[in-house]
Amino acid sequence: MMDKKIKNVFREGAISSEFIANSIAKHQVKTNIGAHNIFLGQVRADELDGKQVEAIEYTAHVEMANITFHEIREETFEKFDLTCMHIYHSIGLVSAGEICLFVFVSSPRRKQVFKALEFVVEEIKAKVPIFGKEIFEDTTHQWKVNQ
């Protein structure tokens, strides 16, 4: 996997359920796969001082982020017995209730996919330079910080 080109992980705006369905359907020709595990990050309408989050606006150091996503992919393929892996992250505005992160791992057997998916998601949260601005209904905002 070491010579693969750096892919662009970012998608403008929310990730639609049709996009996810299409991605699942494409794997039906890979009949050595027995287990898929999918993580979806959804924008929460958190409350702060009685105001609700309406959307998150994502920005990123795009070049560095794509390189970091690539490194996370390589490391995950080395650590776990996976058939394939796909990562998509939103950039720009994503409304509350919409999907902003889609991670998809597949393997012949189920044991590997759970650990692999959790590893990928934690790595993304910790290492990828993406910045979320939570926008409230009154157009004020606060900067999100991962825990």
């Binding site: 990050g41 150091h61 560095m64 390189i67 902003c100 993304i124 910790a126 330079p129």
Partner: protein, 77 residues
């Protein structure tokens, strides 16, 4: 030397620009942060990472690239 500094997220909000050219005569990442805090005092309260060549550097390391990214805490996902 002349550095092109790129600001991200809340840091771009504070600097009110995405990038700017600055003359920097220090050596390390720590020197650079110290220099920028003089220009933008509220940087002092933020948890900032310095990156060059698309990699975060330890603050003790030398600035060798003419393009530097200033990164606030990550919040992807």
């Amino acid at each position: 030397m002349e550095l092109q500094i790129k600001y991200y997220g809340m840091l771009a909000e504070i600097s009110q620009c995405d990038e700017e050219l600055l003359n920097f005569d220090g050596t390390t990442g720590a020197d650079l942060l110290h220099f920028l805090i003089q220009k933008y005092p509220s940087f002092a309260t933020k948890d900032i990472k310095v990156a060059q060549y698309n990699q975060i550097i330890d603050l003790g390391n030398k600035i060798t690239s003419s393009e530097i990214a200033l990164l606030p805490p990550f919040s992807g996902g």
